[in-house]
């Protein structure tokens, strides 16, 4: 559902994403992990069509994000790391606006359900600047899920959410994946997304270090880190400076 080929993004001479290639299939929940400055946000923004890639292609549901942006973006939902809402709109008006932009006709029942699940029903008429950080995050989640996208991107989605909010988000993401959506979320907290993700993509300095399932990750590095190592131990081993060069070992 999400197909990335040789994605490269350069900023003023600095390479933020370096020839990244991977696929996220429908039903898969991919965890994009890496230390700060690894290029996670840039990768997600390039997939979402916010940053035009310097090189390479991104396809959502078979549509190229650069050449067929409207078709590709209709199938996409993005939840950014720092949710910014329109301060002059209420929670409900954000859903109304999103429905109009994506051309969703019968959205009110879905909107009501999303607000109930995210515990926002009693805040539906609150202005955006009356909401806490966590609530703004929940509104961004509701907006991104309203048009039931086939590909869902989440950038550090757990920031600001309380434990109940995290559990609700996990349930929503699992259901979207069960319905056939490709879900991709970035985090540097491997322990928190370990139980949610079905596969992992580890990046450092914009380059792919590993792409595969949890079991594949353990199997590949068990002899180097030790059989009882946690995913976090493997992550540290992979992303520390003396880690082996990435290109040869990276495989799905």
């Amino acid at each position: 559902m999400i197909q990335v080929r040789d994605l490269t993004k350069r900023y003023e001479g600095r390479v933020a994403v370096d020839r990244l290639s991977f696929t996220v299939r429908g039903g898969e929940i991919l965890g994009l992990v890496g230390p700060n400055g690894a290029g996670k946000t840039t990768t997600l923004r390039a997939i979402a069509g916010i940053h035009p890639p310097t090189d390479g292609t991104v396809e959502i549901g078979g549509f190229d994000v650069e050449r067929q942006p409207i078709e590709a973006k209709r199938r996409l939902g993005l939840i950014p790391d720092d949710p910014q809402l329109f301060s002059t709109l209420t929670v409900w008006e954000h859903l109304d606006f999103t429905a109009r932009v994506y051309g969703v006709r019968e959205w009110k029942a879905v909107g009501e359900r999303l607000l109930a699940e995210l515990e926002l029903t009693d805040r539906r008429d609150s202005m955006a600047d009356e909401l806490s950080r966590g609530m703004r995050q929940k509104v961004a989640v509701a907006c991104a899920l309203l048009h039931q996208p086939a590909a869902l991107l989440l950038d550090e989605p757990l920031t600001g959410l309380d434990p109940r909010g995290i559990r609700t988000l996990y349930d929503l993401l699992r259901r979207r994946a069960a319905d056939g959506a490709a879900v991709m979320l970035s985090s540097h907290l491997l322990g928190q997304i370990e139980g949610l993700c079905t596969s992992f993509l580890v990046v450092r300095q914009g380059r792919l270090l590993f792409h595969g399932t949890r079991d594949e990750l353990r199997a590949r590095y068990a002899d180097q880190v030790g059989p009882g190592a946690t995913l976090e131990d493997i992550f540290f081993h992979l992303t520390e400076d003396q880690a082996p060069p990435p290109a040869a070992g990276a495989a799905a």
Binding site: T88, L89, A99, Y102, M127
Partner: protein
């Protein structure tokens, strides 16, 4: 246009009104809005009263046209130089960029959502300009359409810059700005020489007649013709032509197929950072760009006392944000023009002695210049919690925070006085010159501390756009009046002390008395500031 964008435009407009109504429910919001509305009413009322009771003869077409063209040309040049990729707020980037919207739809949304703000600004300026137009009512469409056109033109030039800049080699792109700057400096110098030779009015006339100026002002002609129209028919015809020009420029913006996303993201992020600083205490002039001077020699400021490290940090920030100094220099230039240049070169003061105006300059510049020069508490409002955690007394924090700003304004003030004495060809009253130089530092200190004191007492989030315009104007008006009154009180007290000192003792006694009063006032203002800092309620007052 996408129905979602249409909805967003309408909801945004309604939301501005809703927020204005909500703000009126708080005491601070109500008072500042009421004063702002009163100010608007006073300006509009004064204009109407002046029009009704005017005894002067009818205005002539050519001078009105020339004056309007000149103003429009100045705005045109400055907005073209500053033109960049279209600006989008972070929430617009978040919702609109990943949405299934065409680039053209994003541009149209940008033009329409900012356009109505331009229309309101134009209406306000139009009312102010009514008395200068040949037919007062024609000033409204002339100014509204001009402001709108300038905005649309800036968008067009921003996109053209992108289209051309992407094709230029980087070295050529880097050379453009210095070349433009040099050309402007040479033109300014030539014009200054002509002003010295024949006077300001004739020099301006010659400039208007030059072929270069005629070509440069050609696009502005329909708007100037509306402003200078002598009949309703002419005004209507030129209004139609102006409207057509605005629409044609907007059409060109939409027709240009330039991928602005990348540049918009970068420039919008920088501009948003500036706006954020401005909202959080008028610190918008501080540069949001990456610092360039990494190794900066800054003195220890040990003489400032315990607050020296804070002063030193402010000096580092000032040295690495040279645009802040540039903005202060601009304010100095404006003060010089209004206090010295305008009365001498345009008005009737001619070549009289340079004395009182030096003292006025030494007071006026700090009063206006400190409003936007916020290398102090206003820039550190988000760091108040950190400042509180330091082992420093409130007075030391207050001194450390404002010292660099006050010293910089005082140095600029002294330089300004020096330039005035050097540039203006007139005899100088030495006593007044000494007085002006003597008040430069205390006035700067008082202006900066009072500005900070008022900010810490009323740190409401205001901005000069949209529905908060009246509250913003109200707040600025209160601040300016308050600073003027307090400075007046100090000046009167110092004057009376000097008089008493002169009567009881001699000149030295008079001077010593005045210096003591001014020093006490400065110390008192610092104590007030320290108290306001101590009483600053982080849970309520930190603008979110």
């Amino acid at each position: 246009m996408n129905p979602g964008l249409r909805y967003l435009l309408w909801a945004g407009f309604r939301g501005v009104l809703r927020r204005a109504g909500r703000r009126m429910r708080t005491f601070r919001g109500f008072v500042s809005t009421a004063i702002g509305v009163l100010f608007f009413a006073l300006v509009v009322g004064t204009q109407i009263l002046a029009l009704v009771t005017a005894r002067e003869g009818p205005r002539l077409h050519d001078p009105a046209m020339q004056g309007f063209s000149l103003v429009l040309l100045l705005f045109m040049v400055s907005s073209l130089l500053a033109a960049d990729a279209p600006f989008y707020w972070p929430q617009e980037v978040q919702f609109l960029f990943p949405a299934p919207l065409r680039r053209r739809e994003l541009l149209l949304y940008s033009l329409l959502s900012r356009g109505w703000v331009q229309v309101f600004s134009g209406l306000w300026l139009g009312v102010v300009g009514m008395r200068m137009a040949v037919r007062p009512a024609a000033a409204i469409p002339a100014v509204v359409l001009s402001v709108l056109w300038l905005y649309v033109l800036a968008q067009l030039v921003g996109l053209l810059k992108l289209a051309i800049g992407d094709r230029l080699p980087p070295r050529a792109g880097r050379a453009v700005r210095p070349l433009l700057g040099m050309a402007a400096a040479v033109a300014g110098w030539l014009f200054y020489r002509q002003v010295r030779a024949v006077g300001f009015g004739p020099a301006l006339g010659e400039l208007f007649q030059s072929p270069a100026a005629r070509w440069a002002m050609l696009p502005a002609r329909p708007f100037a013709e509306v402003f200078a129209a002598g009949t309703a028919g002419a005004a209507l015809a030129w209004t139609a032509a102006s409207l057509a020009l605005v629409l044609a420029t907007a059409g060109a913006v939409l027709a240009l197929d330039v991928d602005f996303r990348e540049r918009s993201l970068v420039s919008s992020a920088r501009r948003f950072e500036r706006i954020r600083r401005m909202r959080r205490g008028r610190g918008g002039l501080a540069s949001a760009a990456a610092p360039k001077n990494r190794r900066l020699p800054v003195p220890s400021f040990a003489f400032v006392g315990a607050g020296a490290p804070l002063a030193r940090r402010q000096a580092y920030e000032l040295g690495r944000g040279l645009r802040t100094l540039g903005a202060l220099a601009f304010m100095a230039g404006m003060a010089f023009f209004y206090v010295i240049g305008m009365p001498r070169w345009i008005g009737s003061e001619g070549g009289g002695e340079l004395g009182t105006s030096l003292v006025v300059l030494a007071v006026v510049f700090p009063l206006f210049g400190t409003g936007g020069f916020s290398v102090d508490f206003r820039r550190d409002v988000e760091r108040i919690a950190y400042l509180r955690s330091l082992p420093l007394r409130p007075t030391a924090v207050a001194v450390g925070e404002v010292f660099v700003a006050a010293a910089t304004v005082a140095v600029f003030n002294l330089l300004l006085l020096g330039v005035a004495v050097w540039v203006v060809d007139a005899p100088v009253d030495p006593r007044m010159a000494v007085l002006a130089a003597a008040v430069a530092l205390p006035v700067a200190w008082l202006a900066v501390t009072l500005e900070n004191w008022l900010f810490l007492l009323f740190p409401t989030r205001t901005q000069a756009d949209g529905g908060q315009q009246s509250a913003f104007v109200g707040k600025q008006l209160i601040k300016m009046l308050f600073k003027l009154v307090l400075l007046g009180v100090v000046a009167v007290a110092a004057g009376l002390t000097a008089l008493a000192g002169g009567w009881l003792a001699d000149t030295i006694g008079a001077a010593a008395g005045a210096v003591l009063v001014v020093a006490l006032a400065c110390w008192g203002a610092t104590l007030l500031l320290a108290r306001a800092y101590q009483g600053f309620d982080l849970t309520v007052d930190t603008p979110a």
